[in-house]
């Protein structure tokens, strides 16, 4: 069953066509990879789905509900969460307090029966899940002093706290070391086991192709290819888009 159906979304920014007529169906409990060279419109695509940018044309249907026109917080509360490419923690708050904010959202309150539990404890549990060492001082540190890897994990923790059904991860792996990537990949695989649907925007093709069920390729805002990782790897047009040369 398709959990998310994207049809013909188009967005131009003052003449620059950022996303042009992109359609894709995402089946429940699969991992969709989105790749494409820099500036090919991947983040804009994510922004449109999550309500941060309103498209010129097109529709996004989540579980039978049209989502274009809904503000970002409504989209989030329906169950589509997104992690930002540019990490956006609450810099002045300690890491575990960062998670209290999504824990206070209507979605979480409704699902955990009023949600008057101990939020601090809940947030520490979630942070442990994404790799914050519980017994250390890391979860209590202010976000502004945390290293980049932890901030990326914090983005992921936010989505887990929100109990999202669709996880949209915009370049989660960028700027991480191989070791960090290998430690985060199991978390994503576990989410899949839990029945979540994941959309990953990535430049780290090798890591992505290992876990993706389907991949779409964007170039200059257009979808130039859709298929299983193996097909994408062998496609001439994709190589051309990436390498910028005639093959």
């Amino acid at each position: 069953m398709n959990i998310l159906e994207v049809k013909g979304i188009t967005k131009t920014f003052g003449g620059v066509s950022a996303v042009a007529d992109v359609s894709v169906n995402i089946e429940e409990n699969t991992l969709l990879g989105i790749i494409g060279p820099n500036g090919s419109g991947k983040t804009t695509f994510v922004n449109i789905i999550t309500g941060f940018v309103r498209p010129d044309k097109g529709s996004v249907v989540f579980k039978g509900k049209e989502m274009i026109g809904l503000p970002p917080y409504r989209v989030t509360n329906l169950g589509v969460g997104r992690a930002f490419q540019m990490v956006k923690p609450f810099f002045h708050l300690p890491a575990y307090k960062n998670i209290i904010v999504p824990l206070s959202s209507p979605r979480v309150r409704a699902s955990s029966g009023g949600g008057y539990g101990d939020k601090d404890a809940m947030s520490l549990d979630i942070l442990e899940e994404v790799g914050f060492e519980r017994d250390s001082s890391v979860p209590y540190k202010t976000a502004s002093v945390l290293p980049h890897g932890y901030l990326k994990r914090l983005e992921l923790a936010r989505l887990i706290a929100l109990k999202s059904e669709v996880f949209i991860l915009d370049e989660l792996f960028s700027g991480l070391s191989i070791a960090e990537v290998t430690s985060i990949t199991p978390i994503i695989e576990k989410l899949l086991l839990d029945g979540k649907t994941i959309i990953m925007v990535e430049h780290r093709l090798k890591e992505l192709f290992r876990i993706a069920d389907k991949v779409i390729v964007l170039n200059f805002g257009k979808k130039i290819k859709e298929g299983v990782p193996k097909e994408i790897l062998e496609d001439e047009e994709v190589k051309k888009a990436y390498l910028g040369v005639e093959v």
Binding site: Y73, G81, P89, F90, L93, S104, R158
Partner: protein, 341 residues
């Protein structure tokens, strides 16, 4: 990092937190008297100090204390709004609306003081929030610019329509029973506003407000309707100002166009800039310094404002973090010189 050389040895300054502070900030989790005093001291001293000054000094200075407290509250409210990501340049708007509300209730409906003030606080907060609701989506400097022009335009509006007493204003409003009540009330209100808001911001619910300032897009991505929260913050912040306006109105038994004066917008910001933003206590401290200072400079006439501006510029450039941050660091952390190997 500061360094210096003593007897041919390099020394570097090191800061360490006093261990008491490191353990807990919550008064209920304290284990010894020493810790309790450590936390209470910086809170009690100003409360008692200002009370002594207020009760002992002659009547003229009572008025100064009154004004100081009012500006301190405006500054605290400004800082609260800015902690929620709303940069207001128009505290005068909230103040003025509260003042006119109290004046109106008293003049037209003949309500007594103890009713007009709470009524004006709530209605003032509501009206202010309504006026700003259309622009609540604006951020940063854009929101600031709108709030700056609104009170000035309302001033013209009252001038033009001759509503609410027009240019003359409403005079002969009911006074407070006596100045003791007045001074006690305003001091109580000021401390209540400060400690109340501080506690509020530290709560799980208040956390959401602070997160909006840090990053409103991440707050939205956390499923929070930031506009609803901003409206709530506006209501809280503007109610505090409206209270000040209502209080001032009865204290001077007058309300009129001057309540929208730029002074009520600028002075709180100045106080916050000098005292230290996003601490709530800093702006209060700033107001405690600035208002009496401006009272001392009164004999210079309009030159006073020139001094004022100059002080502001110097403070903004030279002391960007504010006095409060500086003091609290000195209080909570020890400094010592250590040898560099």
């Amino acid at each position: 990092m500061k360094e210096r050389v003593i007897d041919g040895q390099n020394y570097r300054k090191e800061r360490i937190a006093r261990c008491i502070k490191a353990r807990s900030d919550d008064i209920y989790a304290l284990t010894s008297q020493k810790e309790m005093w450590y936390l209470l001291f910086p809170r009690i001293v100003p409360i008692v100090g200002i009370a002594i000054v207020a009760y002992l000094l002659p009547i003229y200075w009572k008025k100064v204390i009154l004004t100081t407290c009012i500006f301190a509250m405006l500054a605290v409210s400004w800082d609260f709004l800015s902690s929620c990501g709303m940069l207001s340049l128009g505290q005068a708007l909230f103040f003025g609306i509260g003042s006119f509300a109290a004046g109106g209730f008293n003049h037209y409906l003949h309500l007594p003081v103890y009713l007009t003030i709470p009524l004006a606080t709530v209605t003032g907060g509501l009206i202010s929030t309504m006026i700003l609701l259309p622009v609540i989506r604006l951020r940063g400097i854009y929101f600031a610019m709108v709030t700056l022009i609104l009170p000035l335009m309302l001033m013209r509006l009252i001038e033009a329509t001759k509503l609410l007493g027009g240019t003359e204003g409403l005079t002969g409003l009911s006074p407070f029973p006596n100045e003791w009540v007045e001074v006690t009330l305003i001091m109580a209100a000021m401390w209540a506003a400060l400690f109340g808001l501080r506690r509020f911001i530290a709560s799980d619910y208040g956390l959401i407000f602070v997160s909006i300032r840090d990053n409103d897009r991440a707050t939205m991505a956390s499923g929070i309707n930031i506009y609803a929260f901003k409206a709530q913050a506006l209501f809280i912040g503007s109610s505090v100002c409206a209270f000040c306006g209502a209080f001032m109105t009865h204290s001077y038994q007058f309300t009129g166009m001057p309540v929208f004066a730029m002074e009520f917008s600028i002075l709180p910001i100045a106080a916050a800039a000098i005292g230290g933003m996003n601490t709530l206590a800093g702006p209060l401290l700033g107001a405690m310094l600035l208002v009496p200072l401006s009272e001392l400079l009164r004999e210079f006439g309009t030159l006073r404002i020139v001094f004022y501006g100059a002080i502001l510029i110097i403070c903004v450039i030279g002391l960007p973090e504010g006095i409060f941050h500086y003091l609290s660091r000195k209080y909570n952390e020890m400094e010592r010189w250590v040898k560099i190997e």
